[in-house]
């Protein structure tokens, strides 16, 4: 059943499925997107739950015979929900619950201790550099390279031009590579 949910192409419409199948197929992806955009695991889980509440309402309000392209819709709704949550970021600052990267908590990958140490240091640099990007640059980078949407699809989902996507993408890559290259 899950195989029916997954799309052969990112924009291919899929047949109507149950809500549980949608949840199973897309929850981890939505959670990862929210976690990257919010930099906070608790907020990401809350926003992901809000997104799937909207999915539930949309799924039951939608005509069952209508073919629905869920994945772009989910990404769009998730990005908007993360924006809404960031607008109320003063509350998170007030509570003092901003999540930060902790190197020691990443699992080992079977390398030597020295390689592991260097790998963790590099990962820490990447995470911190990613959090330094502007919100728009984060959105564009995650959708383009982590979720592997095309430039045109990213522009369509974020409601900006393709040229703007390319500019944000270049600035994000330039910043991340500069931070990554400091230890080379």
């Amino acid at each position: 059943m899950i195989a029916n949910v997954r799309q052969t192409s990112m924009t291919d419409p899929i047949k109507p499925v149950s809500y549980e199948d949608l949840y199973t197929a897309h929850y981890r992806e939505v959670l990862r997107l929210c976690r990257l955009l919010l930099s906070n695991h608790h907020d990401a889980e809350e926003v992901a739950q809000e997104v799937f509440l909207k999915v539930y309402q949309k799924f039951h309000n939608n005509n069952q015979n209508q073919i629905m392209v869920w994945r772009p819709w989910l990404v769009r709704v998730s990005v908007n929900a993360c924006r809404d949550r960031r607008r109320s970021g003063w509350w998170r600052w007030w509570r003092g619950t901003k999540e930060e990267y902790q190197e020691a908590n990443y699992p080992d990958s079977g390398k030597t201790p020295e390689e592991t140490l260097l790998g963790r240091e590099t990962q820490g640099r990447i995470w911190r550099a990613f959090q330094e990007l502007s919100r728009r640059q984060q959105e564009v980078f995650v959708l383009r390279y982590v979720d592997e949407w095309s430039t045109d699809q990213v522009a369509d989902m974020l409601g900006i031009t393709t040229g703007s996507v390319k500019r944000h993408l270049f600035r994000a890559v330039h910043h991340l590579r500069r931070v990554l290259g400091e230890r080379r």
């Binding site: 990862r32 906070n40 999540e99 908590n105 990962q123 990613f130 995650v142 430039t151 270049f170 990554l180």
Partner: protein
């Protein structure tokens, strides 16, 4: 002019864009090809790191000092109190300031002469007004009531000019005629 590709062009080529001339240059130029490989390697490392889902233990709640958390509130409360105090000072009725000893000494020396002069001036003025009124009554008594509305002699004009409101009442005229 350096024909090598800029970073932006390399990124476009990585994304499947770019012109055929740029692609051919990338195939021929070893320096650009090296930079391109480095770009691909960096992007792979970045995306791999971001795709890795950290375990739940990575969630941290860094401690923020008590003062840092409550400093904005304390500043806001202090400002509110200052504003309230200033507002109360401005809008409350101010009590008269007590007179100093120097002012009392000056008043004690100055006030008797000052008030005596004023009293003398007031008495002089009253005497002048009373005399003018008596003269007007005497003049009105010499003429009959039917002349009441007519000006009495030439000097009446000056009396009217000075005491226009001091007209003799009709009842007083009748009493004079009877007598």
């Amino acid at each position: 002019m350096n024909p090598c590709l800029k970073d932006q062009k390399l990124l476009l080529l990585h994304d499947g864009e770019g012109t055929s001339a740029e692609r051919s240059h990338l195939a021929e130029c070893e320096a650009c090809a090296k930079r391109y490989r480095q770009l691909r390697s960096d992007l792979e490392a970045i995306t791999r790191t971001l795709r890795e889902e950290p375990p739940p233990r990575t969630v941290s709640h860094p401690f923020r000092p008590f003062t840092a958390r409550w400093l904005p509130t304390a500043v806001a409360v202090a400002l509110a109190l200052i504003l309230m105090w200033q507002g109360a000072r401005i809008w409350s009725p101010s009590a008269p300031a007590p007179l100093s000893d120097e002012i009392w000494i000056v008043l004690e020396e100055f006030s008797p002469d000052f008030f005596l002069q004023n009293q003398a001036s007031a008495e002089g003025l009253w005497t002048v007004v009373a005399d003018a009124y008596d003269r007007a009554l005497a003049l009105e008594a010499d003429r009959p009531c039917e002349w009441y509305d007519m000006p009495a002699r030439g000097e009446v004009e000056s009396v009217d000019a000075g005491f226009g409101d001091f007209g003799v009442p009709v009842s007083a005229c009748v009493e004079l005629n009877r007598s």
